[in-house]
Amino acid sequence: MTTNPNVILEVKNLNVEFTTDDGIVHAVNNVSYKVERGKTLAIVGESGSGKSVSSLAVMGLLTGSNSKITGEVFFNGKELVGSDPEEVRKLRGDEMAMIFQDPLSALHPYYTIGDQLIEAVLVHNKVKDSEARARAAEMLIKVGIPSVEQRMDEYPHQLSGGMRQRVMIAMALINGPELLIADEPTTALDVTVQAQILDLLRELQKEFGTAIVLITHDLGVVADLADEVLVMYGGSAVEHAPVREIFYSPQMPYTWGLLASIPQISAKKEQLDPIPGSPPSLLNLPKGCVFAPRCTFKDQVSDDACANKFPDLLAVSPDHEARCHLTESQRTAIRSERKIGKV
């Protein structure tokens, strides 16, 4: 039970498993994090790292009979895992909301923008239709939709990608939620539109005091918006730190890989540095460190520890945790040699 009233969401030892014909998929393993009111936590990782699944679990949107969720999720101090689905449903869209990667497929193609927003108001509020419509229009103006009255009678396919994501944001924030989970909100958009959407999220966060869990694989977005970062790999949290720490003093080879794979115009390099290999199968996770098969530094660790034991998430500094068998001095040496972060 969380005692800090500033914490809106606390996830403790969250595990998500899917039973499939091929075996049990360990999508999320022992993930813990906290999100403070009005702050932004970015969850970073490749596809299949469990970042989306963990958020869907928080929202109670993993409804399939093949999924098993264990651990604790406290929202506003209230335990959600194992609680009545009806209770969680009432929170969804009201106190916690979610936006998705592709706004075209996330909006219903058969209903107008206005109808979809009005519906979101009416689920949680006993108001007249006209009042709901007024609120919808007001919200659409806030997210920067031009000629709102006309747009409300249009269908999602008649809007541009950026406009659709604005509509999704309006729909998510229309009931003033305390938490917004944004699952790759800019991935499907043009680069120029991405910046607009991020600006909009930042503005609205300031205005409403909404806490944001931002799921992304784009470190540029992280630098732009996040206060804290959780790096996920193979269903586990591998590094967790304030955003400055992640960029200036990353402590885990996977995070280094992520940082090194960002294209930089100043660097006089001909090639990017991709992380070799591919993410592990969640059906059959490696016995030792999940990242070991792709880690270029595992030879520096004695006794084959990387292949045999998954390192614990240990504190590097009071608010910085990482999983790695490398000693602190080894990491500092590697970082200074490779110019990773600020050394």
């Binding site: 009979s65 869209g93 998705f100 996330a106 269908y155 999704m168 729909m171």
Partner: protein
């Protein structure tokens, strides 16, 4: 929406024209002499020749085609001088075998097929869609498996098998219903229902099985869509998510399928009509084929095709009504 409908109607007229030409050519491709077929047992070359002229079969093909189309729209007169015969619009030809205008025969047979098809349609849509939804909602558990198992059996049973089985057991062995003897629902509703009950079920079993599977797979597919996740994320109850968000989207392919299946049946449910001695279009067509009654064959083919084309148009319009992306693009 309006230009869309106009465009569709234009396409429909074009298709009907092509269709009438193909049907007409088919008529002429039959390896018999239509004039010879018109004369009875006491046939002399003179009668055949006279009939050929009376029916206009001595004319070039395109003239015959124009006469035929004219007959449909304004009626036509066979023969000339004193021995004429008037066939008023819509004139689909004259059946010498039956000594009757084809139009009359079709008008008599059509309601029977109509009642059969629509009754079966209502039954199978009710059974198919509701059991498909139940199966989808219970995806993977025993209810789903049971429904899928039963529908697989239903889907594998041919109409002639089900029809004969029902006929033999319900009517012959158990005497639960009288022998089929078609009566108009307006004259003898009891006899009508007694006759139609088994044919309705015969057709409905096969189609209901198919629509159960179709509805189930559609609903499952739709329930996996992103906008369903959005609907849940809004906090809508599962019931609203299913009824308002999933069902409408899953409905579209079902509408298409239903329209075309109904249209197909309206052209005549040959086997079912035969088994239960229903004097419908299917029986008319089969009778015409076995007797080389060419004008009747052409007419039944044309009528069946018109049903399919018109149904296509209706389906397209419904599609646009359901899906704004079709309507507004």
């Amino acid at each position: 929406m309006f230009p869309y409908i106009v465009r569709r109607i234009f396409v429909m007229i074009l298709m009907l024209t092509i269709l009438s030409i193909v049907t007409f050519l088919l008529f002429n491709a039959v390896p018999t002499d239509p004039a010879k077929l018109t004369c009875g047992k006491t046939c002399t070359p003179e009668i055949v020749a006279a009939n050929r002229i009376r029916l206009g079969l001595d004319q070039p093909l395109y003239v015959q085609y124009i006469d035929w189309i004219k007959g449909i729209f304004v009626g036509r007169t066979y023969g000339s001088g004193t021995a004429t015969f008037d066939c008023s619009a819509p004139c689909l030809g004259y059946s010498f075998r039956n000594g009757e205008e084809v139009t009359t025969m079709i008008v008599n047979a059509l309601p029977v097929t109509l009642y059969l098809a629509i009754g079966a349609f209502v039954l199978w849509m009710l059974i198919g869609i509701s059991s498909g939804i139940v199966a989808a909602k219970n995806h993977g558990n025993w209810k789903d498996r049971t429904i899928m198992g039963i529908s697989l059996i239903g889907y594998s049973l041919p109409v002639f098998f089900v029809g004969l089985l029902l006929l033999i057991f319900v009517i012959v062995r158990w005497n639960l219903l009288p022998y089929p003897d078609y009566a108009s629902p307006f004259e003898d509703p009891v006899a009508f229902f007694q006759t139609m009950l088994l044919p309705w079920f015969t057709l409905a079993i096969l189609y209901a099985a198919y629509y159960t599977r179709l509805t189930r797979s559609q609903m499952l597919e739709t329930m996996g869509e992103d906008y369903i996740r959005t609907a849940r994320a809004k906090g809508l109850s599962e019931r609203v998510v299913f009824r308002k968000h999933a069902f409408r989207a899953g409905l579209t392919p079902i509408v298409t399928s239903a329209g075309l299946d109904l249209a197909g049946l309206l052209g005549g449910a040959v086997i079912t009509e035969y088994i239960f001695s229903l004097p419908g279009l299917g029986r008319l067509a089969i009778g015409a084929v076995t007797e080389y009654d060419l004008p009747t064959i052409t007419a039944t083919v044309l009528v069946a095709a018109v049903f399919v084309i018109v149904a296509n148009l209706i389906v397209d319009i419904l599609y646009a009504a359901i899906d704004p992306r079709v309507r507004l693009s």
